[in-house]
C-alpha cells in the first residue's frame, strides 16, 4: 500500500476513538489488530458469513467489507459493547439457555443480527427470524436452537 495514512475519528462502543491508518484498511482489521477487540470474527472475508457483523450508526454491517475511511464520523458498536460488566443482555442469556451457541465463532455476529431484528420487530415469527438471520451462517446448529434463542429473547424483551 503506497497510499498515505490518514486520521480517522469515530465513536466506538461509546468512546471517542482516533486512529491513524490507511484509508482502505478494513474495519475488521482495525478493530481486531489495532484496537484489540477480538470479539468480531472473520469467517470468510467476503461478506457472506456475517461472523464479523457490527453496528455502524445503528445499521448491521459486515465489517470485512467496510474500508475504515467510511467509518470516519460514525458511531460503531461491537459485541464488546453488548453486555454490561455485570449482566448479560437478554439475547445473550437466551442463547446460553437454548444452546444457541455451539462452537461460538458465529455467535457474536448472530447475536448482533438477532438484536438488529428485535429492535425493529420485538415479536418476530419463525419465518421472519429465518429471513433476518439468513446473512449469518452457522455450521453447528442447523439453526433450530438459534431460532429458539431469538424467540425466548423476544419474550423476555416484551415482558419488560
Amino acid at each position: 500500500m503506497n497510499t498515505q495514512k490518514i486520521k480517522i475519528q469515530f465513536t466506538l462502543n461509546n468512546q471517542e476513538t482516533i486512529i491513524t491508518t490507511y484509508p482502505m484498511k478494513r474495519l475488521i482489521d482495525v478493530l481486531r489488530d489495532d484496537l484489540h477487540l477480538t470479539g468480531t470474527k472473520e469467517g470468510c472475508g467476503e461478506g457472506e458469513c456475517g461472523a464479523c457483523a457490527v453496528f455502524i450508526n445503528g445499521e448491521l454491517v459486515n465489517s470485512c467489507l467496510v474500508p475504515i475511511i467510511q467509518v470516519d464520523g460514525t458511531i460503531v458498536s461491537t459485541i464488546e459493547n453488548f453486555a454490561s460488566d455485570f449482566e448479560l443482555d437478554r439475547i445473550q442469556e437466551s442463547f446460553i439457555n437454548n444452546n444457541g451457541a455451539q462452537c461460538g465463532i458465529c455467535t457474536p455476529g448472530m447475536i448482533l443480527a438477532s438484536s438488529a431484528l428485535l429492535m425493529k420487530n420485538a415479536n418476530p415469527n419463525e419465518q421472519e427470524i429465518r429471513t433476518n438471520l439468513a446473512g449469518n451462517l452457522c455450521r453447528c446448529t442447523g439453526y433450530n436452537k438459534i431460532l429458539d434463542s431469538v424467540k425466548e429473547a423476544s419474550k423476555l424483551i416484551r415482558k419488560k
Binding site: K41, C44, Q102, C103, R130
Partner: protein, 732 residues
C-alpha cells in the same frame, strides 16, 4: 443420584460475549506472521526455487524442506505425507516454501515473488483412472487400502433369485466448512522446545507429528488447544500440517509465528469428505426379502494415505445397512489421485456407503412394486441376528418402532401443494452408526483420562478430548458432578494442554462422551473411593462435606488425582485380518424422514419437514444432544442438495463462501428430533455416541423424497437444481 441433564453450556458465557479466545484472537510479543507458497501444478518434480531479486529476502524467515531438522513426514497411519515438498509434487497446492515476517502486506507481496522450475508429470484425478493405472502415482497400484468381507455364499444366492437389481451411486467431495478457518501459533526456545497453540481436534496427533518433525523428545513438544470454531473432522489430521509449518518458522526465527489460513486457501488445500462410488447388486425374493448383497465400495483418497484406510473401514462396515441378510460380500478400495488428501468428515465414510444402500433399497422396492417402508420392514436386522461381519447384535433393537415414530410425525405435516408445478414427496432412510473406534481400535488406543482436586476444592478434568462446539466441556462437567454428587460449577474443564492432559485419544468417532466420559466416570468413582478409604467422607455425604474432604486431603497429602485407562470388555471380539467379529461395541440406531417440495419450473428443491428418530442410549443432556442431531442433519441436507465443490486440476475452484453454498436459516425447515433410550449399557450413565449419526441418513432421506416427488432416480449427490433439470430434460 442427582442428574444435571439441563446443564447449560459451561463455556457459553465466553462465547456469547465474544471473549472466548480462538486462535486468531491470540497474539504474542514480537510475533511474526507466516504464509505458505504452494505448487502450481498437480504432479511433477521440483527442480529449482527462484527468489525474485527485487525483494530483500534477508528481511524474511524462509523455510524449505532442507530446513527440516527431523523427518519430513506427518506421522499418522502410513508414513507418506510430507510437511513440505522435497522433490516430488503430488497435488496442486502442496506446500513448498514457508515465509514469515512482521508485516502481513509485505509477506503476501513476497509470496508472489517466488517461482518454481518444475518438470511436470501427467496427473490423474478420478477413481477410474487410478484403478486403471493410467499413471502409477502411489505404491505399485495406486491403492492405499482394500477390504474384503464375506458372509454366506452370494454366488449361490444370486443363481436362482426372483429379482436381481444392480446400480451404481456416487457422492462428491464435501467441505467441512467450520466457520473458523484453520490456524496455529508456534513458539520455540531451547529450554522448553516447541509450543503450539491451535484450532484442533486431536492434540496428541499434532504432538506425534511434531516430535518426528524435529526429532524432539516428548517433553520438548507441547500442544495447547485454543477455542475451536467448528471442526467436524476437518481439524483431525490437517492441524498437524499447519502446526508443523508454524513450528518450522518459529524454530528458525526464534520468535513466535502465527499462521492463519484465509478462507480461499483453507478450502483449496485442506481435507474434504472422500468422493465415493458404490455399486450394489442385490437379490430379493417375491416379497422383497434380501437374499444376497454384493457391494463394491470405492473412495478417492487424494494424493496421500492420511486417514483414508480408516475412513474406508468405517464406510465398508456400514455399507450393508441395518438389514439382515445371510449372504453378503463387500469389496472396498481407496485409491490415490492427484488431489489434496481427503480426510475425516463427520460420518467418516459411512454417509457415502449408506447413501448408496438407502437409495438402492428404494430402487429395488420400486422395481418390485412395494413401498420403501415395506422393503425395510421385511429386512430390518433384529436382536440376535448377525451383521455382515457376523457380529451378533445383543441389545434391544426395534426398527419398526423407529420407523413408525418417524412416519407418524412426518405424515401429520404433509399437505398437497395448491400449485400444479410444485410436487411434493416423502423419503425415509434407516441406518446405524457404530460408536467409538472400529474393531480393536479402542484397545490399541488404551486411552487415559482423569481428574485432579485443586486447592480451592474444585475438580479439574484432565484429558486430551477437545471442545469444538459439540459439548465436551458440559458433558464432562455433568458426568463428573453426577458421579461425585456435587454441583457442576465445582468442575473445571480446561482445554487440553499436553503438558498435563493424558492421552485420551482423538476427539473423533462419536467416542468422546461414550468412551472418555466413561473413563471420567470411573476416575470420579476412584477419587471418591480414595476419600472414603481415607475416612474423610462417609458413604452418604453432603456437597459441603465432600469439598471440605478434598481440601483436607490436599493439605495432608499434597496431590489428589485419579486416572482411569480404557480396557476393552472381554466379550468384544474382533479379527483385523478377516474383518470378522464385533466391529463396534455398540451402535446408535435411527430412522430419518424428509418431506420435500420440488418446483418443476425453477427446479428448486425445498425440504419442508424433517423428522429424526434415534436410539442413543441415555440422552445425557437433551439440548446438547438435540443440537448435535439438528446440526448434523443440516450438514446432511447440504451434502444432498446444496454443497458442490467444483474441482479443476485436482483442487477446489469454487473456494469461497459465495460459490460453495451451505444451508442458511432460510434453506432449512425446523428439524424434529425424537430420542429413544433403550440400551443403557455403554457410556457414562448409559450414553452411546451420537455425533456422527445424523450425517448418515439425512442425505438419502432427502433424495428419496425427491425421487418420490418426481418419479426419478437420482444416483449422485449433491443433487442441485441443474442436475434435476438435466434429469427432467432427459425424461421428456
Amino acid at each position: 443420584m442427582k442428574k444435571f441433564s439441563n446443564l447449560r453450556r459451561v463455556e457459553g458465557k465466553s462465547k456469547v460475549t465474544g471473549t472466548a479466545l480462538f486462535i486468531d484472537d491470540l497474539n504474542f510479543p514480537d510475533m511474526l506472521h507466516g504464509i505458505t507458497v504452494r505448487s502450481p501444478v498437480a504432479r511433477g518434480i521440483l527442480k529449482k526455487i527462484h527468489f525474485d531479486p527485487s525483494i530483500n529476502w534477508n528481511d524474511f524467515v524462509i523455510v524449505t524442506a532442507k530446513d527440516i531438522p527431523g523427518q519430513n513426514i506427518i506421522h499418522l497411519i502410513k508414513e507418506d505425507w510430507p510437511f513440505l515438498v522435497g522433490e516430488r509434487i503430488n497435488h496442486k497446492g502442496e506446500a513448498i516454501v514457508l515465509l514469515a515476517h512482521h508485516d502481513q502486506q509485505k509477506l503476501s507481496e513476497a509470496s508472489t515473488k517466488i517461482s518454481f522450475e518444475i518438470e511436470t508429470l501427467p496427473a490423474i484425478f478420478t477413481i477410474d483412472d487410478s484403478i486403471n493405472k493410467k499413471e502409477i502415482i502411489w505404491g505399485d497400484d495406486n491403492c492405499f487400502k482394500k477390504y474384503y468381507i464375506n458372509k454366506g455364499d452370494i454366488d449361490l444366492a444370486f443363481k436362482d433369485a426372483f429379482h436381481v437389481f444392480e446400480q451404481t451411486y456416487r457422492t462428491l467431495h464435501q467441505e467441512q466448512l467450520y466457520i473458523e478457518p484453520q490456524g496455529a501459533i508456534a513458539a520455540y526456545n531451547e529450554l522448553e522446545g516447541i509450543t503450539v497453540w491451535g484450532s484442533l481436534q486431536c492434540p496428541y496427533y499434532v504432538h506425534g507429528a511434531l516430535t518426528n518433525l524435529f526429532n524432539f523428545s516428548n517433553e520438548k513438544v507441547r500442544i495447547i488447544q485454543s477455542e475451536t470454531g467448528g471442526a467436524f473432522g476437518g481439524k483431525e489430521d490437517y492441524p498437524s500440517m499447519i502446526a508443523g509449518h508454524a513450528a518450522l518458522l518459529a524454530y528458525k526465527a526464534k520468535k513466535p509465528v502465527k499462521l492463519i489460513y484465509k478462507r480461499a486457501e483453507d478450502l483449496q488445500v485442506t481435507t474434504k469428505r472422500h468422493p465415493s462410488q458404490t455399486t450394489i447388486k442385490t437379490a430379493v425374493d417375491e416379497g422383497g426379502k434380501l437374499l444376497a448383497m454384493d457391494i463394491a465400495f470405492l473412495l478417492d483418497g487424494g494424493a496421500y494415505a492420511t486417514l483414508s484406510e480408516v475412513v474406508l473401514s468405517r464406510g465398508t462396515l456400514h455399507a450393508a445397512g441395518p438389514y439382515f441378510c445371510e449372504n453378503i460380500r463387500i469389496k472396498s478400495k481407496v485409491m490415490a489421485t492427484n488431489s489434496p488428501p481427503n480426510g475425516a468428515f463427520r460420518g467418516f465414510g459411512a454417509p457415502q456407503s449408506i447413501f448408496a444402500m438407502e437409495r438402492h433399497l428404494d430402487n429395488v422396492a420400486r422395481s418390485i412394486g412395494i413401498t420403501p417402508e415395506k422393503i425395510r420392514t421385511i429386512n430390518f436386522i433384529k436382536r440376535g441376528q448377525t451383521t455382515a461381519t457376523n457380529q451378533v447384535l445383543d441389545e434391544k433393537l426395534d426398527f419398526d418402532s423407529l420407523l413408525s415414530t418417524t412416519l407418524s410425525k412426518l405424515k401429520k405435516d404433509t399437505k398437497k401443494s395448491k400449485h400444479k408445478h410444485i410436487k411434493s414427496g416423502i423419503g425415509i432412510a434407516t441406518f446405524m452408526h457404530g460408536a467409538g473406534f472400529t474393531g480393536s481400535g479402542e484397545k490399541y488406543l488404551a486411552s487415559v483420562a482423569g481428574i485432579e482436586a485443586m486447592d480451592d476444592g474444585k475438580i479439574k478434568i484432565l484429558c486430551a478430548s477437545t471442545e469444538m462446539g459439540q459439548g465436551r466441556n458440559t458433558i464432562f462437567a455433568q458426568v463428573v458432578s453426577e458421579t461425585l454428587g456435587i454441583d457442576p460449577h465445582h468442575i473445571l474443564t480446561p482445554a487440553p494442554d499436553t503438558l498435563e492432559a493424558p492421552n485420551s485419544g482423538p476427539t473423533v468417532a462419536s467416542r468422546t462422551s461414550m468412551i472418555v466420559g466413561k473413563l471420567l466416570e470411573h476416575a470420579a468413582n476412584g477419587l471418591r473411593n480414595t476419600l472414603l478409604a481415607a475416612g474423610l467422607i462417609p458413604e452418604k455425604y453432603t456437597e459441603a462435606k465432600f469439598i471440605q474432604a478434598l481440601k483436607i486431603y490436599k493439605k495432608k497429602y499434597g496431590t489428589l488425582k485419579s486416572f482411569h485407562q480404557y480396557k476393552q470388555p472381554e466379550h468384544i471380539k474382533w479379527d483385523d485380518q478377516t474383518y470378522q467379529g464385533d466391529a463396534y461395541p455398540t451402535f446408535a440406531w435411527a430412522c430419518y424422514g424428509a418431506q420435500v417440495s420440488v418446483n418443476t419450473l425453477t427446479y428448486e428443491i425445498k425440504v419442508d419437514n424433517f423428522v429424526a428418530t434415534q436410539e442413543v442410549g441415555r440422552v445425557l443432556n437433551r439440548k446438547l444432544a438435540e443440537g448435535q442431531i439438528e446440526g448434523g442433519i443440516a450438514q446432511g441436507i447440504g451434502f444432498a442438495i446444496f454443497e458442490k465443490a467444483i474441482f479443476k486440476d485436482g483442487v477446489m475452484i469454487n473456494n469461497s463462501f459465495t460459490n460453495y453454498i451451505m444451508p442458511t436459516a432460510l434453506d432449512l425447515p425446523r428439524i424434529h428430533v425424537y430420542f429413544k433410550e433403550w440400551n443403557k449399557d455403554y457410556g457414562p450413565g448409559g450414553a452411546k455416541g451420537i455425533g456422527e449419526l445424523p450425517l448418515d441418513g439425512s442425505g438419502p432421506a432427502v433424495i428419496n423424497a425427491v425421487a418420490d416427488a418426481l418419479n426419478i432416480c437420482p444416483d449422485t449427490i449433491p443433487y442441485l437444481p441443474e442436475d434435476l433439470m438435466n434429469d427432467m430434460e432427459f425424461l421428456k
